[in-house]
């Protein structure tokens, strides 16, 4: 009896499969489902269960897939960074994927300290309190003690949880001389509509600790300037400090939706909500306090709110053109970000991947970025406005426009490994914040342009 029932069930399954194959053929673009349909047909023929996964194991590469990159970022007269990345991905038998990534950066050079250029030379105390540096007349003050090495490690584990749900968890560790960042994240993705649609939700949490050399400056206190070898210097300097370290936490929620429109087009929409709490001030930044003649009287340490809520929406479209447009893949995205510091930004990023011959491609890239200023941003303070709560002259939270233009050339080598070169030019143009400047500032560059060159070599093997 039991046997008969089993046979009946088996026949039922086969009929269902045949039906599904036929439905697949008639209802949808059959090209997309050919592999799945054949898999069903073959299992009906051989009386086996449907096998789809192992195809991916027939790779002509080793089990680990590695990507490596070496990047140089160099700002004209300012910071330069070199970065080396090695990332490995391993796919296991049941489609679990382990990804590990190690990044090492070395930063050197000078960074704007926030003070404004003056018609005379200016003297500043180093953030550590050990010694001074002098900025010549007419130049934007730069702190040239900027030097750091960062080691970053990311690990991510992804696996299918059911036929159409994929889960992943990951960890992040980043260590610099004066900074430690630890993070965890989790993500769930649900595929539906014959895998043409995916909804995902991700959560992440970071805990950062900042231990700057010289400690955390007391917000809005005056920078101590004088003879750092004087006997009472250390005691006086300590009065401008409120502690050795401080920390901040960041919690992010990301909701995403990806939709395959047709075999040439795919779109994605994301929304993210991010809450940052804790020490958000930059301990190395000051702001000039000037008199009505425009002459600096004092430099006070900046102060930012201890929380920030950031939201952003992102949309992206990739389109694969046919031969008439050289099989180009266009990748265009737009991001709108806004936060409760009143910063808003628009980012438009476009890339065109154009195949050249059978094994190489060229990829022009243009990025346009426009940002509004934080409500507490000021390029300087006039003497009698000193009673501010929050203030920063950091050009990075001022109003600005930035453009990146570049290109990448990639070539697939004989063994299937990919080598690529990227070179980009970046130009950041701060907007005049519209202050009626005192006469003394005439002819000085209050909103200096930042230019940088980015060069990268990547190799996947």
């Amino acid at each position: 009896m039991a046997e008969k029932v089993l046979v009946a069930v088996a026949v039922g399954v086969t009929n269902d499969m045949n039906k599904k194959v036929k439905d697949t053929i008639t209802k949808t673009n059959k090209k997309i489902n050919l592999k799945a349909s054949l898999s069903l047909a073959a299992s009906a023929l051989l009386g086996t269960s449907v096998v789809t996964a192992p195809v991916s194991h027939a790779k002509d590469a080793d089990e680990w897939q590695f990507d490596s990159a070496f990047l140089v970022y160099s700002e004209v007269d300012r910071v330069s960074a070199t970065e080396a990345i090695i990332a490995g991905t391993k796919t296991f038998d049941n489609d679990e994927v382990l990804s590990l990534k190690l990044t090492v950066d070395a930063l050197t050079g000078a960074s704007a300290n926030g003070a404004i250029a003056q018609p005379m030379a200016q003297t500043f105390t180093r953030p550590s309190g050990n010694g001074q540096y002098v900025t010549p007349a007419g130049e934007t003050p730069l702190d040239d003690t900027f030097k750091d090495t960062r080691v970053q490690l990311n690990a991510q584990w992804a696996q299918p949880l059911s036929d159409n749900i994929t889960g992943s968890v990951g960890g992040h560790l980043s260590k610099e001389y004066d900074y430690l960042s630890l993070g965890v994240n989790g993500n769930l993705a649900y595929d539906f509509n014959r895998n043409n649609s995916t909804i995902s939700i991700g959560l992440s949490y970071f805990q950062d600790t900042f231990t700057p050399e010289g400690g955390i400056p007391k917000p809005l206190s005056s920078m101590l300037i004088g003879d750092s070898s004087a006997p009472d210097w250390d005691a006086e300097f300590a009065k401008t400090r409120i502690g050795d370290s401080d920390d901040k936490s960041t919690a992010d929620i990301l909701v995403g939706f990806t939709q395959v429109i047709n075999r040439r087009m795919i779109t994605a929409f994301n929304y993210s909500y991010s809450m940052v709490d804790g020490y958000l001030t930059d301990p190395f930044k000051v702001i000039s306090v000037i008199n009505f003649d425009g002459i600096a009287q004092d430099y006070i340490y900046e102060n930012r709110p201890d929380s920030r809520v950031k939201q952003s929406t992102f949309m992206q479209t990739k389109y694969h053109f046919d031969e008439s447009l050289l099989n180009t893949v266009a990748d265009i995205s737009y991001r709108y970000m806004w936060d409760d510091w009143d910063i808003t930004s628009h980012t438009i990023d476009t890339r065109f991947t154009i195949p050249v011959g059978r094994a190489s491609y060229i990829e022009p890239h243009i990025r346009f970025y426009q940002q509004g200023a934080a409500d507490f941003y000021q390029p300087y303070i006039i003497d009698d406005q000193k009673s501010v709560d929050f203030v920063s002259a950091d050009y990075r939270i001022g109003e600005m426009t930035a453009v990146t233009v570049g290109a990448k050339y990639g070539v697939v080598l004989n063994g299937g490994n990919e080598l690529s070169f990227r070179i980009e030019y970046y130009r950041q143009m701060p907007t005049d914040a519209g202050f009626v400047d005192p006469n003394g500032l005439n002819g000085l560059d209050k909103y200096p342009v930042v230019e940088a060159v980015i060069a990268q070599v990547s190799y996947s093997f």
Partner: protein, 305 residues
């Protein structure tokens, strides 16, 4: 057809190698074991299964079920479960290929004959000859159910497009019952493995690389296969050239003419050999768009033009 059927068993460094000839192809089985008894059992089991399928579905063998169906003269012919399942599979391939793949197209071979030595087509058929035969190619005219088939008079079935790959998959199923030792079955280049070799090492399979090295030399490429199967469709040697156009030996079942601008051969991988074989054949049938077709399907493949 009746070569003497013999099976050779040779001991290799890390196991045994079985060699025999079937379906007009050299066949081999590699098994990672030092157990000679087991190797002999596998050799017998695989060769018997391949010869069984050859005998049953060869259109050259008068006693085969294929010949019985082809000589049915429009009358009902009884079939068994296995044949029914193969017909079902062929039906699905016909649907998936929009009629390009049709197991009734074998009759076209009467006019398209490729010399077995030079590979050239000796006789270029006329349009009249082809038009006469193309009326006999139409899977839709075949009716079948679980127990019988009716093939209209003068039409012919040809299981050649799926038989070898089917045999590979059948052998893998059978040997898995005998042993869990790592094993590879290769029937004239269509092959499958039971799983990775010992210590989770992949099987190294040499295939002809479609690309050339820096000096323009074609290279063999080693494919690492841990699971699943690999099949090649097309034959670089069999072709014909007329008025400067190179015709491959794959025929379009709708027109009766060879597909032009197709790659000479395509190799694909899939969980089962029969899937890999059909994917490669369906791709060849796309002609110039063969590679694009496979790329869009996200199928791993190697094409030779």
């Amino acid at each position: 057809m009746k070569n003497k059927r013999t099976v050779e068993l040779n001991q290799k460094k890390d196991g045994y190698c079985v060699n025999f000839t079937a379906m007009a192809s050299p066949c081999e089985v590699l098994i990672q074991t030092q157990d000679k008894n087991l190797a002999e059992q596998v050799a017998l089991c695989v060769s018997a299964e391949v010869w069984r399928i050859e005998d049953k579905y060869s259109r050259y063998d008068r006693r085969s079920i294929c010949s019985q169906i082809n000589s049915g003269g429009g009358k009902q012919v009884a079939i068994d479960e296995e044949t029914y399942l193969l017909l079902n599979f062929s039906e699905q391939c016909y649907q998936l290929s929009d009629g390009l793949f049709d197991i009734t197209s074998g009759v076209l071979r009467q006019v398209w004959s490729f010399d077995s030595l030079s590979g050239e087509c000796q006789h270029f058929p006329s349009a009249t000859e082809i038009n006469k035969l193309i009326r006999l190619v139409d899977w839709n005219k075949v009716t079948y159910d679980q127990h019988s088939i009716i093939l209209p008079k003068n039409m012919e079935l040809d299981f050649g497009g799926i038989g070898k790959e089917y045999a590979v998959d059948r052998c893998i199923l059978l040997v898995k019952v005998l042993t869990d030792k790592p094993l590879l079955v290769n029937l004239g280049g269509d092959l499958a493995v039971t799983g990775p070799r010992t210590n989770n090492q992949p099987w190294q399979v040499a295939i002809e690389h479609p690309d050339c090295d820096a000096l323009g030399q074609p290279q063999d490429m080693i494919v690492a296969l841990k699971h699943g199967a690999l099949a090649t469709s097309g034959d670089a040697r069999r072709y014909l050239i007329k008025q400067g156009v190179r015709y491959g030996h794959v025929l379009n079942a709708k027109t009766g003419w060879p597909i032009i601008h197709a790659p000479r051969s395509i190799t694909t991988v899939a969980p089962q050999c029969i899937q890999a074989g059909i994917l490669a054949t369906l791709a060849l049938l796309q002609g110039e768009q063969a590679e694009q077709f496979l790329t869009e399907q996200e199928i791993t493949f190697w094409a030779r033009r």
